[in-house]
Amino acid sequence: MCTLHPEEEAHLAAMALSPSPRTLDSSRPSTPTPCSLFDVCWDDVLIPQVAVYLTLKDLFNLRCCSRTAKKFAEAAMEKRQELHLSGNNSSNIEDGFRVLARCCRRLEVLHLACCRWLTDDLLLPLLANNKQRLVAVNLNECINITALSLQPIIVECKELRVLKLSKCQWLTTGAVDALTLHQSKLVEFDISYCGAIGERCLIIFFRRLNNLTVLSLANTPSVTDQVLIQIGNYCRELEHINLIGCAAISDYGVHALTVHCPRIRTLLIRRCPRVTERSLAPLRQRCLFIDRPLLEGAHNAYSLNDFYPSSFLVY
């Protein structure tokens, strides 16, 4: 038995006042009055089985059709589980986002990468309405938000498993410390190109991320062999790691990482001049995908003699 949405009841009540009354005499069965799109049950059919196939453009078009269509579109937005706006920088996107922030209440996946228009004022209301269910948040290259937007994500999104903050230069050591306190169940994490984070906070952070399987630290200058050792010791489920451009790491750190992470399948280490075939050759036999091809005679880029840890700390 389906329950009626309040707007459905109003719609049906309006139909009951239409000029062609139904026949109630049971000996003379009546013909149902003509029906419209919104007569179909919203909760059982229209929202879970029609609206789920509609794009945001379709829903916003419906919002402009009629009052009932607007209520339906907003009811559909309320139940929507995923919001994909990555790369969308169209002219009226901010107005549309305000509507989504007000209507969406069940989001689990939020993709807003490269949304240069996004500010804290726009994002915070959406996070306030959806913090209980968010599982994956992608804020890569959202250059105009600040750590203020990150606060509800860190503190209140208890189900968070995927967090992407690539090129978020506003990401501070303090924010990573807060992540350490509140978010230990992350499975996928991206802080590539985040230059403001220190080595020490990364070392402490990875001690808690025991479920991590996908990690990107590309072009993060504070990633050192010490950080890789911590990842190796505590992130034993790791499968894919991106260390492109981490100039401070060496064979020592890669060796420590890969010895302790038996599930690793992908290792990206281009532009890591201190990582050589000394650490990579054994991994090629493990059938890992390594983005640097094997070159003839290129065994040791710097020294034939030893592994050595990175000799400086970056804060």
């Binding site: 069965p29 149902p32 799109l37 029609v50 419906l62 059709c65 269509a69």
Partner: protein, 156 residues
């Protein structure tokens, strides 16, 4: 009438009465697809003549529902969404059905719990909405009146 094998021999047809009073003889083998009717028979909810009243459904729509159930039964290997969509479109074309027929089919499918018809009908409806480029096209297609006040139109 009951489907309980300990009570009586399973009949080959069930009689369903639509809102105009017409009786439809439907093969019991199709009833597995009509959850509501199947459940009604399990608790012996037909009247004394063994006729099950379905007063929310028109005869024309009931015929299409039964035709759909036969198509699904006879094409049980064609379970891909695209195959089912093709079957649905062909059924509509044969019946010269328009969007109103699709909506009535969805109402009937929801009432009768015909899951396969709900799936294919909702996909069809979603495709129709997506094919409309503007709000005006949607209004024309589904005969919607623009009753949004102008001041609300300007708000986000």
């Amino acid at each position: 009438m009951s489907l309980n094998p300990t009570v009586c021999k399973e009949p080959k047809f069930v009689q369903l009465q639509t809102c105009e009073g017409y009786i439809h003889d439907v093969e019991t083998s199709l009833l597995e697809q009509m959850g509501t009717v199947h459940d009604l028979l399990m608790v012996e909810c037909s009247d004394s003549n063994g006729i099950i009243p379905l007063l929310k459904i028109e005869s024309r729509i009931m015929k299409l529902v039964v035709q759909w159930c036969r198509l699904v039964q006879n094409n049980s290997a064609r379970t891909e969404a695209s195959d089912r969509s093709t079957m649905f479109t062909e059924l509509l074309e044969e019946a010269s059905g328009d969007d109103k027929v699709v909506i009535q089919l969805l109402l009937a499918a929801n009432y009768l719990h015909v899951e396969s018809l709900l799936e294919v009908g909702t996909q069809y409806l979603a495709d129709v909405i997506t094919a409309c480029e503007t709000a005006e096209e949607i209004r024309i297609r589904f005969n919607l009146q623009n009753d949004i006040p102008s001041d609300e139109t300007e708000e986000p």
